[in-house]
Symmetry: C2
């Protein structure tokens, strides 16, 4: 019987591990609670109506249709038995097939992370995020519905609250979301309403640190800051969120004082917590967790004491030679490189070869702000404005899986660029909050919706 | 103050009435409970993963952005006061703006129809339809999830039930749906699974009449029948549905005997009932209703006794010279021609001119079956196979609103035609049944998802 590899999570880490293993003499089972790979760095574009869900998601079965040794399984992973080596499964919502437990010889866990609310789980219902396709679609409906509600209102205060959008977290996702909402209001929707002027919408970007894009060089943070202000975004730095409810967000300034902003739309892009599967592996193996529940793995990404279990992506931090474990940024290239490394490790073992520890090749950092506006750092090169945006465009199109998607997205972006239109501006009725919340967790949340770094 | 026209429903009838009125000296308010126009003849393509929701829906505000006298209002119409002339409104779900009542000088009601379940409302939860975007997306998830469930199952009987799809109603929508599901199973998904062979899926098309596409000439029905059988569809004619539940459909044959089919997926494409707004107008004016709740209007589409109220589309039947009222087919061209007629009537009145009664110009009939397969009747010309399919393609692309959509759909279809792919094959978690059901009713359901006829 050939070596059985079970991969949990169809995000960037999982699919790249499977891609590289497909020609190896192994039987692969890829388990995810969604039937699609989400190109998460673009999910914010779904949240602002620039792209349709189908353009950033690709069926896992379609990706691996020509690999007969790859089995895709739509199921929810509930736990592990490390001895005997088994993955326990449950149904995904809406399906009543009872999936059997799955045995493995090697287990690759790439279950990603989800947004944390700093211990305030009750904020989740008022502050949506854009990490999953369902939540991105819900955010789209919420933003568009706010303008629709404002159009119907006559009271100036409630109208102003509807037209106020607060984005929490000025990392790549927060910068992208606030820039996109500003463009939507000032550009796309400009002529769409009669009672309100969408250009008077307020977009407020809040961060606890003292600059936007803190992972970037200071000079690029400054440029991004200026670009956002040009688009009409109000940036509140050194402010932390102390309360979120249905009608407002309350901020506390670092230098004293609190401020209450009346708003009906809060987008959450601050702080992630690793998949709960990391905690389970920690309890079973004694491996450490950090404050964000990231599992500490060995330099070769294996679980301490369990070389047959590999964990990767933004649910882990990696033990280095002698110092502290390394927390890599939660972006797609890290997951991709780790997924490929994991596949290589499996291949090396089967061939009886040794494997060097994982080494991350950082090819750069890129974040987009709006039409023709971005900042990028590639090695020592710093770019901003249109050149950075063109780099961003090429990198993202290159990594979009599937010929058709790439072509369609390219055409859509070209048309949008020249017409300022956003065609995916439809409001459909939404899943219940329970369903959305449920779908925020578990496998498949690999690689958060932030800047793709090089490669 | 200029003449106030209120239009209810952003379907084909409503938007064509507004299009033609936009240059008239009138103030127009277009009310819909969705923020988009749905190109309903293609909603079945969403239900089978060939197109994304954003490709068959276009924001109403975007359509009328350059018409300053057109106000779009996202609201639910709850009723009318014919004296004083007012439309009563309520919120759409998820929005808490209280929309005011709206006054009109002329009212155009184009609120469409929804599927009826022959008095068995309880069947709705088990037999989904593809008339609204939300239900089409839900059907897509249901079909794909059935294959996923079958892949996980080991019991041959439950697996066979998951892989059995029953389509009720062999009109254009039923024919299109069953053809598409067969293609999905035999072609698109062929290599996607490991435990099951999707080509063994059973697709069963049921109708109470003795032929498919009964609105078409008999020879074309025969061709469509053969094409469907070539695709592997089992056709059960002269069969009526007597029960639908979570696990099966029970049929009664015209010539005696009942048959129970074990299935988890039933698609409903039989029998529509007019919008409840028709019943309200009937109660207020004394106008007759037919068995499908269609409102009987005068030869000029006005409500008896209320020339200032016009009703059109598949929620009405039209009184003719002396004989019985005429029930036009519930297709887009009827709604479009009636919408334009209504706009002309308003213009004529304002100019003090008389208007001839409404006259429908029937340009033909077309239904698609699968890739390169269709049947069409244009005047005395009967087409089938690839020529009919090309006519179908041209007609539908021509009528798709918005340059970008038309281009994207065209590219997508071309790619699909050559690659046999369907890219929009994603399962997202679904709204609650209540939400779907709620969204089935009310304004905006104009022009059912059947063959577009010529003009």
């Amino acid at each position: 019987m050939s070596h059985r590899v079970v991969v949990i999570g169809g995000g960037f880490g999982g699919i790249h591990a499977v891609q590289r293993l497909r020609r190896a003499p192994v039987e692969i089972t890829l388990i995810d609670r969604r039937n699609f790979h989400l190109f998460q760095p673009l999910s914010y574009q779904v949240a602002t109506g620039a792209l349709s869900p189908g353009e950033v998601a690709y069926p896992l079965r379609a990706i691996f249709k020509s690999a007969p040794n790859v089995h895709v399984m739509l199921a929810d992973v509930t736990g592990f038995d490390l001895e005997p080596r088994q993955v326990r499964l449950a149904n995904v919502p809406g399906m009543d097939a009872a999936p059997p437990s799955v045995e493995y010889d090697t287990l690759i866990v790439a279950a990603g992370s989800s947004y944390s609310y700093f211990g305030h789980e009750d904020w989740r219902q008022y502050a949506a995020e854009v990490k999953t396709l369902e939540s991105a679609t819900a955010v789209r409906a919420q933003i568009l519905r706010a303008f629709e509600a404002a159009e119907l209102m006559t009271d100036p205060e409630t109208r102003a609250a509807e037209m106020t959008f607060v984005v929490v977290g000025a990392g790549p996702t927060g910068v992208e979301m606030s820039g996109q909402i500003a463009e939507l209001a000032r550009d796309t929707l400009r002529h769409d309403f009669r009672a309100i002027d969408p250009r008077t919408a307020r977009v407020i970007l809040v961060d606890a640190l003292d600059r936007v894009l803190s992972a970037f060089p200071t000079s690029l943070s400054r440029r991004a800051h200026r670009s956002l202000e040009d688009l009409g975004v109000t940036i509140l730095l050194d402010h932390t969120v102390v309360d979120v409810n249905q009608y407002s967000v309350t901020l506390s300034a670092k230098h004293g004082g609190t401020e209450r902003i009346h708003t009906r739309t809060v987008i959450w892009a601050a702080g992630v917590t690793a998949s709960g599967l990391g905690r389970q592996l920690s309890e079973l193996s004694g491996a450490e967790l950090d404050r964000a529940d990231r599992l500490t793995v060995e330099p070769d990404l294996t679980l301490p004491g369990h070389p047959e279990v590999i964990a990767l992506g933004d649910m882990v931090r990696v033990r280095a030679g002698g110092g502290d474990p390394v927390t890599y940024p939660g972006v797609a290239p890290v997951a991709i490189q780790q997924g490929r490394y994991a596949a290589g490790l499996v291949g090396d073992r089967l061939a009886g070869r040794g494997t060097k520890p994982f080494h991350y090749v950082d090819k750069g950092n890129i974040a987009t702000i709006g039409r023709g506006r971005a900042v990028a750092q590639v090695k020592f090169l710093k770019l901003s404005g249109l050149p950075a945006w063109l780099v961003w465009l090429c990198v993202h199109l290159w990594y979009l899986i599937g010929f058709q998607n790439r072509l369609l997205v390219c055409i859509k972006w070209s048309v949008s660029f020249f017409t300022h239109g956003r065609s995916a501006r439809i409001i459909t009725y939404q899943p219940t909050p329970e369903a959305v919340q449920h779908s925020d967790k578990g496998a498949g949340d690999e690689a958060r919706a932030s800047g793709v770094r090089g490669g």
